[in-house]
Amino acid sequence: MKNKLFAFPFLMLLGIASCVTINIYFPAAAAEKAADKIIQDIQKSGEPQTGSEPARIRISLLDLLGISSAHAAAPANLNIDSPEIRTLKASMQKRFPKLRQYLAKGWVGYANNGLVAVIHKNEIPLKQRAAVERLVAAENRDRKALYKAIALANGHPEWEDDIRETFAKRWIANAQSGWWIQETNGRWRQK
């Protein structure tokens, strides 16, 4: 009897505890959508028809009141709109026209870990090697920071790896044909 009385509040506590256990699963579908949005926005910059004219500072009243393309609405469930994310995206957009040239030449490819890598190093003219390496290093710094920033913007720093994995797949899925991509087994092939 005494044991039963003792067990009752214990079970109740357990019941409460199990009631408040909330599992928040990584929203994989939303993450894919968000990744696609970001990747496509970045890959749009410097598309051949638009040219890669250097950014010029021109401020007009309307620019001052204008709306930057970085503010497009985020897909449901995953927030991709924080100052950090916008900064990183702007930085990657600015870099992409150059990166696109390297991707097209097969000097740089989309790796299976959400980053970019210098490949076919022996084919790159010596004069351009440093620029390629530096650009790739800078891009990877931004990419890592972006995955972290998205996780933080959604209040789940532990999602960083999932986000990185999602992005890895989506970069490759969004790669243009002819660009080099790394398969899950580590092998590189031309898309």
Partner: protein
Amino acid sequence: MDPEKWKLTIASLTFPFPPWKVEPLSLSCLGHTDKTLLPLRCRQGRLAGNLSRLHLPLAGRYRFDFAGGDKKSVEVAPLEIGDSSWKIHYNQHGDRWRFDLTSQRQTLAKRWIKPLLPRSLHWIKQISGWLALTLHARGKAHATHFDMRVDGHKISLNDENYSKVLERLRLGLKLDATHGGQAWSGNLDVRADRGEALFLPIYLPLTDNPIKLRSSFLWNPSTRRLELQDLSVRQTGVGSVVGAGIIDNGIISGLTGGFQARLSSFYRLYVMPFLQGGTWQTLEINQGSANGRFLIVSGRPEKGRIVLDDVTLSDTEHRIGVNGLNARLYWQKNFHNHGKLFPTSWISWHAAHLYAIPVGEANVFLRLTDDDLRLIHTAILPVLDGRLRIQRLDFLNLTTTPQIRFAGDIETISLELLTRVLRIPPLSGTLSGNVPGVKYDHESHTLELEGKLTIEVFDGTVTVENLVVTNLFGPLPRLRADIHFKNLDLELITRHFSFGRITGKVEGHIKSLYLENWRPVAFDAWIETPPDDTGRHRISQQAIDNLTDLGGGSAAGLISRTFLKVFEDFGYDRLGLGLKLSNQVCQLRGVAPAPHGYYIVTGGGLPRIDVIGYNRRIDWPTLLARLKRITQIQTPVVQ
């Protein structure tokens, strides 16, 4: 043993220097040997062996003669090492001797290069090319003279990652040394004048910009002291360093010298690679030269001087630029200058710009010590028709945790000119203000303004406070500020836009203004007629139409369709409008609540006209479209 022939096999022969080991080595002699002199003379010998550490086979012919009293000679020729042919001569007369070694063409191969210098060349993945080598030494018992010449041709090599690469390099090395007294004195001459080299991130186009190094030296093996005299490193089209120094036990005890450089090519080869991928990768030095002197003591820089001459610096992203930059910069590790005056550094330029804002000719006086840079006289920088007076500017701990201290004034910059260069709607008035301090945080790239900026414009004042700029030169600059305005003359404001004329004064604020990439993301703005404004309050038909449109009223154009069109303008009592932007939505409010809306303008006198807004929330893009429609800029009148 046949006296005419003999054969000697040595299982292993070890040297303290390359090639370290020959194992085994067999020597044989075929005929022509005087029996009595055996084994002091051989005229036709053969040798064969293996340089085991270098993985090279060895085969050759030799002859020697040790039978001539105090005359001795050895000749090994040809000596085939791998696929290369060598010649070795040795002659001795009494205690005088002479040694010569030549190789016309030694092919470079990884299998012997790596073991030859295992510590310094272990990273080589591939190598090709060939060397020609001559070495001559002579002495009297001990060596007294030595000279060597190595010519490398079409040397290509790389490491696993292609981060160190040579391509078709031509290299020449000459070294001579003579022993006198306790030390060796001599000359070294190295040149690389063809091919390309990459040591990430530095790329050297040696065909276009060959490099030559020369030096005379004095080397004392007992004290391990190396004295360098007439040291020069020259790169064609780039610059040169000349100097002299003393190195004790591998540490620079003292090194002094001078340098001169063509800045455009020096910058392109040695600075730009480090900026690639960063914020300043688009910075260029288009012209100018530098020269200077330096002193290094005990392995550390002690003092230096740089003179910059007629430098042009530009940024393909048009963020900054400087023309006609001249400078004389003196740097010294210690502030104490042994009683002498500390040399003053200065920088001057003919013209400069920061984004679109031009900065005129200026002279800036500085003091550079250790890790700090300090302004020592007030600097006056002409900005358009006004000027920026910098009373204090210190950059401290430059290479560790940079700190900036700043204090200055902006003196009467004409807004007419400023708005014109910034290509924003023209405003009249002046910008002036005091900046008592600026804080800079190098980790977050944040500049924070302490104090207020005052802008005198439209007969009133606008003050900017709490100005914080993050990432000023980065990909997405961010700005936060609080702005207050007082006593602005609406007539002057409306004159600049095709908005429609309004007379009277206004005051208000833009609190928590937040811009990204110079575009608003959030703010809380309010503008109203001051309660104590006693001036004339008139508002034109057009202005009423526009305000109605802005507030979402449906009466736009109504006046012109009614009898009211005979009135050019109307009296009003008060006007007020609030806009609060967040999350892409703007909330609107007026000067007083009205049925189903809010008053933007409350009428005064007859005929009485009120402007009532009905939309309390408008999408920011929609509002922008309306603003665009009603704030068409009138052509500015240039006087």
